[in-house]
């Protein structure tokens, strides 16, 4: 574990060596290529440094930051040069090119952010104006996937969200931090049941809106083997599969879950849009209600815009598009159906009797009594997400399959989830103390680079 931390979070040397910049946690094909010049190095350390200093202005720190920025600009220059070189060589494919562009964009974005933050620590009066400026920056990130639409979601992995998050936190502790907590709830699958419903009062613009394409939503597999192309629902299964392709995939580091550095920071608040135009969950809708998690997207899209292909084998009438809904229904379908003389059905006897007690003249119907009016369809379950996903299987599926393509670029998303959420929810500790205790070493080491 220690080993791994070092490899992914020590400030990477800028020597463009693919060997050294290779992050074992990336399992995306694009970044395994030789052409990749830059690793999406984590910006944690400088930003943490900024933040830890942000309360009292320190000229040394400012200098440090500026020199860091200088380095960073050099580094971006290197990427551009590399791009020019590969373009001249004519041996690149489109995806690599896009990946590089991607990298460039994110690098530039982060440079801008850091510049602003440096200025912010220097001039505390500009806080408010900066906060309002958050949204466009976020939107900048969200515009990336639409630009590279052919690409799998992992293409924009290098989006350096953790430090961006950290930065915004440093300035607007109140607003953004609460948003963080909501997001963490999203990651927690058990609490995901009422997502989108629980008074999601995020102001419009305070979150990123992502929209996946239909094909992506309905894709059965989300992890693909780079060598043979086989698809998997879970990243863990893919890792197991990879062992067969050679000894290098058998190392404990390759087999371990992509770890998350405990000191790393949460992602920006993300909300999702349904790709179906006209749907209330589509971002074009005037009363747009975003979906909270990828699981919500997947379930909403299947329930609302797909054919109901799973039929209950007991009653042969009820159809579902989400298999978990079918399973939930099948638990109650059939023999223990309680029917009132008015035609209303109940899953439980006490509910029926409560109904009968309430209405004059209603009686429980005998099993073979004629059913006068059947309430055929129960209204579709809430669109917003994982209703009824208490199933262990679903839980796993969701964890490995739905989330990882989007978030495993940060490599922390699941490994570090537990400690992460623990720290964040701890009311006694502010994020600052958490940072300080976590990373003094890095802060000291960084200037050397």
């Amino acid at each position: 574990m220690d080993q791994k931390k070092r490899s992914s979070f020590t400030y990477p040397p800028r020597n463009n060596s693919p060997q050294e910049s290779f992050n074992p946690n990336y399992d995306c094909p694009q970044f395994n290529s030789q052409n990749r010049t830059e690793s999406p190095y984590p910006y944690d350390t400088p930003s943490q440094f900024f933040n830890s200093q942000s309360r009292e202005w320190d000229p040394h720190a400012l200098l440090l930051n500026l020199s860091f920025l200088e380095q960073k600009i050099h580094q971006t220059q290197n990427i551009v040069r590399e791009m020019i070189r590969t373009n001249e060589g004519q041996n690149c494919n489109i995806s690599e090119l896009t990946a590089q562009r991607q990298l460039l964009t994110t690098d530039l974005t982060s440079t801008i952010i850091q510049l602003i933050s440096t200025a912010g620590s220097f001039l505390p009066t500009i806080r408010t104006s900066l906060l309002s400026g958050n949204a466009p920056i976020t939107q900048l990130g969200s515009s990336i996937p639409s630009a590279s639409s052919g690409l799998s979601p992992s293409a924009y992995q290098p989006n350096p969200s953790p430090d961006y998050e950290e930065l915004t936190k440093g300035w607007g502790e109140n607003g953004v931090e609460s948003a963080d907590q909501i997001q963490i709830e999203d990651l927690d699958v058990k609490e995901g049941e009422d997502v989108g419903q629980d008074g999601d009062t995020l102001p419009i613009g305070s979150y990123e809106v992502l929209q996946l394409e239909k094909e992506e939503i309905l894709a059965p597999h989300t992890h693909f083997c780079t060598i043979c192309g086989k698809g998997f629902k879970r990243d863990a299964n893919l890792r197991m599969h990879m062992r067969g392709h050679g000894d290098e995939y058998k190392s404990p580091a390759a087999l371990a879950k992509p770890a998350r550095e405990p000191g790393s920071q949460p992602m920006p608040v993300k909300r999702y849009s349904c790709p179906f135009v006209g749907c209330k969950r589509n971002k074009e809708h005037k009363n747009f209600q975003p979906l909270k998690t990828l699981l919500c997207v997947k379930n909403h899209y299947k329930r609302s815009h797909c054919e109901k292909s799973y039929t209950c084998s007991r009653c042969n009438t009820k159809k579902f598009s989400v298999i978990a809904d079918l399973k939930t229904h099948e638990k109650h379908c059939g023999r223990d159906k309680w029917l009132c003389s008015c035609g209303t059905t109940f899953s439980r006897k006490d509910k029926l009797f409560g109904h009968v007690a309430l209405f004059q003249g209603h009686t429980p119907a005998l099993p073979s009594d004629e059913v006068k009016g059947k309430n055929e369809e129960i209204n579709d379950k809430d669109d917003s997400g994982g209703v009824g996903y208490n199933d262990g299987d679903e839980y796993l599926d969701m964890k490995g399959g739905y989330f990882s393509p989007m978030v495993n670029f940060d490599s922390f998303s699941f490994e570090g989830l537990d400690e992460f959420s623990r720290t964040t929810f701890d009311p006694t500790e502010t994020s600052f103390s958490f940072l300080r205790s976590g990373s003094p070493d890095f802060a000291r080491k960084d200037p050397g680079n």
Binding site: F353, V356, A357, H362, T363, P364, L366
Partner: protein, 644 residues
């Protein structure tokens, strides 16, 4: 010849008829003249036919006035018979179909539709009845009284049907409807607010039911016998409820203790009857001490099998002065001192149950005789310490004594001599008293001419002469138990000329033969129940006699008799009222014999007891037909053992 009706108008005649209760007296009256018949026809409100055949004629005769119809003793009653026999415009208010196992929901629907004014229905002990039958009954919207005891398949749904359909219900019995749960009771309580009497004995309901029941505003009488899931918490709900209970029966509720009873006594101040027998026997004294709050209202108190000290009885005696009946059966601590305290206070006691109070001696009888001169019923079974001295005092003082149980009390002829002074005696039980001989019985026969019931179980000293004395003296006997009185022979039986005898037990009387049975059958034509088990010498001739003379025989036990297939076929085929036959170990009857006999009786029988081995050899089709006609078959697997 002067017509008597000119002197005695029909109105007056009807008033006279009001005072006639015995069916024989009424029959004599009907036979006087056409006018008397007419008066009786107009006066009659209820009939209870024993056979289906004459039913349409009877109903036509009484259709105008008849309000109550009891079909519980009709064999082979099924849907078509039921729907055909009830005339369409009628004033029927009450119909009893108890044990009418051949009827289904279709018959009940017809019944309810042709009797628009029906207010009471009894379908108890129709064990196959379920929700569908309950739903049929529920269509009688004016129903006030319903008994569905032991309709084993009635569930909450059936009860809900009744509750919704019959919201005017005042009396409901759902004893032994095991499928009913708290949910059903709750709905019943919400829908039937007029309920006054409710019997939920032996149901598997919990305290929640009592919480619901407690809200019934008019409830007076609640029976909770053997509800094992009820406890003190439920009684707490009752004590704080809206209802003003007058009678509660929590006997055999294992989890009800004195704590619950105490709260109940505190909360329900109008309780008149409490039956707390066989409850959890802890802390009885606290409950008894709380009884003083009920004081004068309490008239019936049953505390069977509770631990009662003399002081507890003293409290009862001092506080419950109007007590009319007390049950102290199997109460361990009851002794002479306690009884004397009790009777000193409760001088109005009429019924005293001291069954198995082993410490009770003559002293108790003396104090009872001194204080409670109005005692009518005295239950002293197994009070082995009592003697003729105490009984003498009882007979002298309590001249109104009607029932006395001296089973297993080792009384002798002298005691019977004393008791014979009680000329009002109706019920006398002296089973297992081997000291009783013909001399004692002759006293009884001479003086107790009103006797209705006599139990001489295992009074082995009795011979033919004793039986003769009884038969000659007690002409009104309805019930006679002579089991294992093995000195009695055919001669004794031939003395039995008791026109009203309906219930006769002759089990294990090894000396009697078919000729004795024939003589008895000729003399006792009203027999409805007869037990001949282990009367090894009785053969087909006895069956022929029974088939010929005792037409009303409904229940017959002929296990171990030397009856052949022929006799069995004849008796099962001929007796039109026969409904319940126990025929285990009939070694002389072949399989074909059983088969034919059962076919001959098919449709009438409601209960049959057969040897288990026959289950596999009798044709399944026959067994299916029997069961489809509502007959329950009990298979017995006892070894064949001859005892004498």
């Amino acid at each position: 010849m002067c017509d008597i009706t000119t002197v005695l108008s029909v109105d007056l005649l009807a008033q006279v008829l009001d005072w006639l209760h015995d069916s024989r007296d009424l029959k004599s009256c009907r036979l006087v003249s056409r006018a008397f018949l007419q008066a009786e026809r107009m006066h009659r409100r209820a009939i209870r036919p024993l056979r289906l055949g004459p039913l349409p004629v009877l109903l036509r005769r009484y259709v105008g006035s008849l309000q109550s119809l009891d079909l519980s003793s009709c064999p082979s009653l099924d849907d078509s018979a039921l729907s055909l026999s009830i005339p369409c415009p009628n004033n029927l208010r009450s119909v009893s179909l108890s044990r009418a196992t051949g009827v289904t929901w279709r018959g009940l629907e017809v019944l309810v539709s042709v009797c628009p004014k029906i207010e009471a229905i009894d379908i108890s002990h129709c064990v196959g009845f379920g929700d569908r039958e309950a739903a049929a009954v529920a269509k009688a919207c004016w129903l006030k009284e319903l008994r569905i005891d032991k309709c084993l398949n009635v569930t909450d749904v059936g009860l809900a049907k009744v509750a919704v359909g019959c919201s005017r219900l005042e009396k409901l019995g759902i004893k032994w409807c095991f499928e009913i749960s708290d949910i059903g009771i709750d709905l019943l309580v919400k829908k039937c607010l007029e309920l006054r009497e409710l019997d939920i004995s032996y149901l598997k309901v919990g305290n929640e039911s009592l919480r619901s029941i407690a809200s019934l505003p008019k409830l007076e009488d609640l029976a909770l016998v053997g509800c094992e899931y009820l406890d003190d918490e439920g009684l707490y709900f009752l004590s704080n409820g809206n209802c003003s209970l007058q009678s509660i029966d929590v006997s055999r509720c294992e989890n009800v203790t004195s704590v619950g009873l105490t709260t109940l006594a505190e909360g329900q101040q109008r309780l008149r009857k409490i039956n707390a027998g066989n409850c959890s026997p802890v802390l009885t004294s606290t409950f008894v001490s709380k009884l003083c709050t009920l004081g004068d209202t309490l008239i019936i108190l049953k505390l069977d099998k509770l631990q009662l000290s003399a002081s507890a009885l003293e409290i009862v005696g001092k506080n419950c002065r109007n007590l009319f009946e007390i049950g102290l059966s199997k109460c361990n601590g009851v002794n002479d001192e306690g009884i004397s305290w009790l009777v000193e206070g409760c001088t109005h006691l009429s019924t005293i149950d001291l069954t198995c109070c082993l410490l009770v001696t003559d002293k108790s009888l003396l104090s009872i005789a001194a204080c409670c001169r109005g005692v009518k019923c005295l239950w002293l079974e197994s009070c082995v310490l009592i003697s003729e001295k105490g009984l003498d005092q009882i007979a002298t003082c309590c001249t109104d004594l009607k029932e006395i149980d001296l089973t297993d009390c080792n009384v002798n002829d002298n005691a019977l001599k004393c008791l014979s002074r009680c000329s009002e005696l109706l019920v006398l039980k002296i089973g297992l008293c081997s000291g009783v001989s013909d001399i004692g019985l002759s006293f009884i026969g001479t003086n107790c001419s009103k006797l209705l019931e006599l139990d001489l179980y295992r009074c082995t000293a009795i011979t033919d002469d004793g039986l003769a004395a009884i038969s000659n003296g007690c002409k009104r006997l309805k019930k006679l138990n002579l089991c294992y009185c093995n000195q009695i022979s055919d001669t004794g039986l031939s003395h039995l000329q008791l026109e009203e005898l309906s219930d006769l037990e002759l089990r294990g009387m090894v000396r009697i033969t078919s000729s004795g049975i024939t003589a008895m059958a000729v003399g006792c034509r009203s027999l409805t129940q007869l037990d001949l088990k282990r009367c090894y010498s009785i053969d087909d001739a006895g069956m022929w006699a029974l088939a010929q003379y005792t037409e009303n025989l409904r229940q017959l036990t002929i296990s171990y008799c030397t009856v052949t297939g022929l006799g069995l076929c004849h008796i099962l085929g001929s007796l039109r009222c026969l409904q319940d036959v126990k025929m285990v170990h009939l070694s002389w009857v072949s399989i074909e014999g059983f088969e034919l006999a059962l076919r001959a009786s098919c449709g009438k029988l409601k209960k049959v007891k057969l040897l288990g081995k026959l289950q596999d050899v009798l044709s399944p089709e026959l067994l299916q037909t029997l069961q489809a006609r509502g007959c329950r078959i009990r298979w017995v697997n006892k070894p064949l053992v001859f005892k004498g």
